[in-house]
Amino acid sequence: MSAQSGAAAAVTVRAATRDDMPLVHNMIYELAAHEGVADGPKLSIQDLVSDGFEQSPAWFFVLIAELDGQVAGYALCNRAYSSWTGRAVYVEDLWVSERHRRRGVARALLRALCERCAAEQVTRLDWHVLEDNAPALALYARLGARDLYRSERRLALRLDEPCILAVAAGHLLPSTPPQSGAHIFPRFD
């Protein structure tokens, strides 16, 4: 394990409540600004509260990461379905606030998510990432995520069941430096 493992232990991850939505709303804007589309988000705090906590079924669920007593990041997900393999999860947003970077927060969020997937027999985890997000790509490669497609500089990544279980158990593949500017995605099998 890397020298960051001690810092990673200080991160806690929990399910969000409706009271977290103002902070999540802030972080949604942080993420949009980071992607260069500061006016992208159109939802209000009340929209998030309504869609996440007042509708049945809820439209999404959120995991909150806390570090040093502060909210440090979030993962907003929805339940999905594969007609081949059944229950799946799609990660719409994964974000760590700038001041909490490089403390293992993203890794802790993904691990908690994979633990939840393993417990619920979810066998596929999908998300998208911008092609130029090098730190994110480096982490995702270590999860064993499979690069499925790319357009307009976005990548769709899939974590298959063996990798979900491995990540839930706390395993990561060794870091590999990018070759010719691109990450090769290794596999656990």
């Binding site: 949604i28 993420l31 949009a32 992208g40 988000p41 159109k42 939802l43 929209d47 869609d51 049945s56 079924p57 439209w59 999404f60 907003l76 929805n78 339940r79 999905a80 379905y81 594969s82 007609s83 081949w84 393999t85 059944g86 229950r87 799609y90 719409e92 947003d93 998208h128 690069d147 499925l148 497609y149 790319r150 357009s151 307009e152 976005r154 990548l155 769709a156």
Partner: protein, 170 residues
């Protein structure tokens, strides 16, 4: 030389659990078409449980039916969420049986899902399609935007005016 079905000959309706045997068959046909025959792992019982017994259902399904008997095609979809714009739908599967192609059935199914997306206030309808699938030109003709293009999977999004127009005029 059009072999298109006349209006009313084929209807699209919500699937019931009794349709899952036909849907399971077509899921396998779709996998065979995509050259990934080993992909499907679910049984008919899994589909019945996930779509009709579990609360809330894990997916929704529409079928295209002729003469109250034959199921000609299906669509599987489920709700997703955009943190920028809110409620959305993902179209996971859209399939028409091989011997029923080019008769307008796919369009009826796609229309029905787009209409549902629009009627339920969804900001977008997302779906994936393999790059070599001739259906790409159909989706593009409806104003869908090609978001992704790698490893021969294409990610399409139908949104805003294009979605409303298609749901209205399809």
């Amino acid at each position: 030389m059009s072999n298109k079905y006349k209006s009313g000959e084929v209807i699209v309706r919500a699937a019931t659990k009794h349709d899952m045997s036909a849907v399971a068959e077509m899921i396998q046909e779709l996998a065979d078409y995509e050259k990934m025959s080993d992909g499907p792992k679910l049984s008919i019982k899994d589909l019945v449980h996930d779509g009709f017994e579990k609360q809330p259902p894990v997916f929704f399904c529409k079928v295209a039916e002729k003469h109250n008997e034959n199921i000609l095609g299906y669509a599987i979809y489920f709700p997703v969420y955009s943190t920028w714009e809110g409620r959305a739908l993902m179209l996971e599967d859209l399939y028409v049986r091989m011997n029923e192609r080019r008769r307008g059935v796919g369009r009826l199914l796609f229309d029905a899902v787009a209409k549902e997306a629009s009627a339920t206030g969804c900001c977008r309808l997302d779906f994936h399609v393999l790059e070599w699938n001739p259906a790409c030109s159909f989706y593009e003709s409806k104003g869908a935007v090609n978001l992704t293009n790698k490893e021969q999977w294409c990610y399409y999004r139908l949104t805003g005016d294009a979605l409303r127009d298609f749901a209205k005029d399809g």
